[in-house]
């Protein structure tokens, strides 16, 4: 595993994204499905970067998407009449990431001192608390949220706004997914990857080995949060052009992220995209063929999967491929 060869596992993942992207372009009318899948994959990829590598379950993860959504919403609704054109999107993205990072610093300072279930519950607390602060103190219009289709149109024009919401937002989601993938493998193959692996397995021993666990945890936490912020800004703000706190701080998105990562294989590079595709596609066709019953079918399946294949799909493939030529492409 020397030099460039250690980055080979990124190839299958990036190819998969390319294939998904191409499929969306070639087959008319499949784009929104592709967009939804890309969202799930990106969500998993970003979530896995922290949760998969450290083993810490951030149940309040959705808060970072939420605040990212607000970042973009504020930029578009606030700067629409400044004649910045597409500039509002750029500013929005920056704002989203900054918001997410700031929030993650605050959360990290508090929650990362805790472990296991205490960490999970603390992060839930952060998400819910933040949401009620927004509603209770009437921040950003409180529960009325911000609806900004109009402002987006004013800012960039009718056609561009349409294209942004129905195509370019999704392209940006792909972008987030790819960045997340690259960062993941760079981390995994770098010192930080070994540090995180060590603290995941035995945090106290890791400290004794000279690993500044807090520092590495924070780095992974912030990276993951920043990606979430960008994801919120694109998949929720630019695409849907409105934001209500009750929607963007909804805990079921965290749960979806967990499901995706677990289906694919926590702490693996390939896992989130595999999990995201399995999850998205099956949800979609269940909704199409048995509307109203899909959850009743889906939930038991999840349980079966986590009982039968605790290491996830990719974990399994990894074991199967160990020692074969493919091994060096799977991580």
């Amino acid at each position: 595993m020397k030099g460039a060869s250690r980055y080979l596992p990124a190839i299958p993942v990036l190819l998969a994204y390319a294939a998904l992207f191409g499929y969306g372009l070639i087959f008319p009318g499949q784009w929104q499905l592709v967009a939804q899948l890309a969202f799930y994959c990106a969500l998993g990829q970003a979530f896995n970067l922290f949760m998969g590598m450290t083993g810490y379950v951030d149940f309040g993860y959705v808060a970072f998407l939420g605040i990212g959504t607000y970042g973009m919403a504020i930029s578009i609704s606030g700067l629409a009449d400044k004649g910045l054109g597409l500039g509002v999107i750029v500013i929005g993205l920056i704002l989203s990431v900054v918001f997410a990072v700031l929030l993650s610093l605050a959360v990290g300072a508090v929650a990362l001192r805790l472990r296991g279930a205490y960490f999970a519950i603390a992060t839930i607390g952060v998400n819910e608390g933040f949401r009620y602060l927004v509603e209770g103190a009437r921040i950003w219009n409180g529960s009325e949220g911000i609806i900004f289709s109009r402002q987006l149109r004013d800012a960039v024009g009718q056609e561009a706004a349409m294209a942004l919401s129905t195509f370019w937002a999704d392209v940006m989601v792909f972008g987030v997914a790819v960045i997340a993938t690259v960062l993941t493998i760079v981390y995994m193959r770098g010192k930080i990857g070994y540090a995180l692996a060590a603290l995941r397995m035995d945090e106290d021993a890791a400290k004794v080995m000279g690993i500044n666990v807090t520092r590495f945890k924070i780095i992974a936490f912030i990276t993951s949060a920043a990606l979430a912020g960008a994801l919120g800004a694109t998949a929720w703000a630019v695409k849907l052009t409105y934001v209500f706190p009750a929607d963007v701080f909804a805990i079921h998105y965290t749960v979806e992220a967990i499901i995706i990562v677990l289906l694919g294989g926590a702490g693996t590079l390939l896992g989130p995209i595999v999990g995201g595709l399995i999850y998205g596609v099956s949800k979609y066709y269940l909704a199409v063929y048995i509307p109203g019953f899909q959850l009743l079918v889906f939930a038991p399946v999840i349980i079966v999967v986590i009982v039968m294949f605790p290491e996830g799909t990719v974990g399994m493939i990894k074991r199967k491929c160990a020692g074969t030529a493919f091994a060096k492409y799977i991580l």
Partner: protein, 414 residues
């Protein structure tokens, strides 16, 4: 050069229009697509809406023999998926309906949030997007071209109620407002507050409560202390029931008490029994409203659709349960009826043409009057006010639609 290409393009465009126009007259059926919420938070309303739509479609196909386009009567067809009350699902299912299932028109999912989620995609494909459950006024300030609303505006829910109470008892001026803290609840509160000020009420209490509330005691104790004559509020279903029960628990007696959404549903009275007595609520439609062909003719309105009893019968068949249709069902059904008239007036299946036609028509059905302004917002439909008297839901306002007189002051909680 420029001019010629422009001209050529126009020709081309024109040609395609003609072509599509011809093509559009041919299909064997007109398909209405619907990414409705059948599980998750909005499941109840979604179930009702699907039932209402199926019922009306059945009526159109059997009684009217389809929708008249040109010389041909084309039957309606209905294709729906479950978006799980999730925004991501709305966009992808919506596009599937348009591109894979090639539906002609779309019904929006229930709730303002989900309706907004689908709007950009509907606009992109330029397909008519019938809003049956998105009451937010803001939807119509965004400049969407293809949204047509059937449910009324949030801001108008309690306007009629206040007019009625003002007429009944001008002396009682102490008004308390307590609504659910979400986009819809707040828009109702704004409307009520503005109108109350106009009528000279003094607002002695104004609060909201979180959507997922399970104990209102603190808020209600504060409300009690403000000694209101009238309490207006509410938001959705569970909180409405809770509101009423805890009003009773704390023995808060008022002359009038009206909640949005929850009250007019049968579940409300089933849950609260005698505690529901005298509680009232505004609604777009209730079982027992007396909108008939005759009334329509008197009012000089076009009439379409099943009578109320026919609708109830068709609804129960469609849904396969002995479930009573509620206003969610009626709204969705009425939306389909408006679509039928729109198509027939436009004499085309082209969304743009139908949208234009809908802007010109007004009509009456079992659901009541229907008419939209240029933004697509519903302005023709008036809300009614209904009050529980014993185990009967009596419509007390507007007077011309009333089935009984207002029980005032409201009987005390036992």
């Amino acid at each position: 050069m420029k001019k010629t290409t422009f001209f050529a393009l126009n020709l081309l465009a024109a040609f395609f229009c003609v072509a599509t126009a011809f093509a559009a007259d041919l299909p064997q059926k007109i398909v209405i697509g619907h990414p409705e919420a059948l599980s998750g938070a909005q499941a109840k309303a979604g179930e009702q809406a699907v039932g209402g739509i199926k019922a009306v479609i059945k009526w159109v196909n059997t009684v009217q023999g389809g929708v008249k386009v040109g010389e041909k009567k084309i039957p309606l067809d209905y294709k729906y998926y479950d978006c799980e009350s999730k925004r991501e699902a709305v966009t992808s299912l919506l596009e599937r309906l348009i591109t894979v299932d090639k539906v002609n028109f779309i019904m929006a999912p229930y709730s303002s949030s989900l309706t907004l989620a689908g709007a950009p995609v509907a606009e992109k494909y330029g397909i008519l997007y019938m809003d049956h459950g998105g009451a937010s006024d803001k939807i119509f300030t965004q400049g969407f071209k293809f949204i047509v609303q059937t449910i009324g505006l949030g801001t108008r829910y309690h306007v009629g109620t206040l007019n009625m109470l003002k007429k009944k008892d001008p002396a009682s001026k102490r008004l308390a407002l307590a609504y659910k803290d979400d986009e819809f609840g707040r828009s109702v509160m704004e409307g009520a507050e503005a109108h109350a000020k106009k009528l000279g009420y003094d607002i002695v209490f104004k609060r909201t409560y979180p959507p997922t509330v399970n104990d209102l005691t603190p808020l209600l104790s504060e409300l009690k202390a403000s000694r209101p004559d009238i309490v207006l509020g509410g938001g959705h279903l569970a909180d409405g029931q809770l509101f009423t029960q805890q009003m009773a628990d704390l023995g808060i007696q008022t002359k009038a008490f009206s909640l949005i959404a929850a009250v007019t549903l049968p579940a409300f009275q089933n849950a609260l029994k005698e505690k529901a007595d005298g509680v009232m609520g505004p609604s777009h439609w209730e079982l027992g409203v007396t909108y008939t062909k005759e009334k329509a003719q008197k009012a000089g309105q076009a009439w379409i659709g099943p009578s109320q009893d026919e609708f109830v019968k068709l609804f129960k068949e469609a849904i396969g349960k002995d479930l009573r249709p509620e206003y969610h069902a009626a709204e969705a059904g009425a939306a389909v009826l408006s679509l039928v008239l729109g198509i027939e007036k436009a004499n085309s299946l082209d969304s743009g043409k139908v949208r234009a036609a809908l802007g010109k028509i007004t009509f009456m059905s079992f659901y009541g009057a229907w008419g939209i302004d240029e933004t697509g917002q519903q302005v023709g439909h008036d809300l009614i006010d209904a009050q529980w008297q014993g185990d009967k839901l009596v419509i007390v306002w507007p007077e011309e639609g009333a089935t009984g007189s207002l029980l005032y002051p409201k009987p005390a909680f036992k």
